[in-house]
Amino acid sequence: MSYLYAAYIATWAIHVAYLGTLLRRYIRLRDEIAEFNTRDEK
């Protein structure tokens, strides 16, 4: 049973890790856009 749970947990760990990298890239891009807009306003 432990192998079964290990496989399922590993699967979701991989997907969550990838979604985390996507989120991090989104946040970085949003910050860049915000910085660009404030610089443009000045």
Binding site: Y3, A7, I14, L22
Partner: protein, 239 residues
Amino acid sequence: MKRVFPILAVLTAALLSYALYEALIVAPTEQTMGDVQRIFYYHVPSAWTAFILFFINFVASVVYLIRRSNKADMVALVTAEVGVVFCTVVLVTGPIWARPVWGIWWTWDLRLTLTLVLWLIYVSYLVLRRFSSSGQTPLLAAVLAIFGALDVPLVYFSIWFFRTQHPQPVIGGGGSIDPRMLHVLLINWLAFSCFAALVCWSRYRLEVLRREMDETLALEALLEPRGSQSRTSPTWRAG
């Protein structure tokens, strides 16, 4: 579109939860392997989803080579990235399943080795896209993707034509599977396919925004007056 995405995300989460319930509770226990066989419901749908994504990557790469379409290039990038994630799941869940059933984590069997080669090809594709600054990168990546896609049918049919440590196909190819197991397998495949489609959509949107931002910054750098550069550049005068 902004309203549709959360609804689809909730529906996909519900479908994934239902698929998990079917895999762990509803599916019958396999006679020889016992409960560990339930890894099948994550391992096989992940492999099929990865194959489909690599196939889309192949088609998008061919379209890019013919038309030089920016959209096709982005689709190729996105499907390769998400495909690598699903292929990683296959390469991780496979050994976890193999250990209690075969007594070993890994063997250099044809199916396993070709799957590892497939993963390495698409990882190298992503590395090329990430670190090459040449203007020819999408072109080189498209050519690499076409070579990589050739490995997909080799992986898929390796257990049909060769005797390997990996089990022979239970669907088609003379094998058989309990109809209830097949039903659970297809539900899980549907759930993972919907999940992959959503992730691809998010990643595509991110790529569109990234490229728009890069183009804006490049345009701004081109239009910026020369004098404004002196703010950061040192001024050297002859003595």
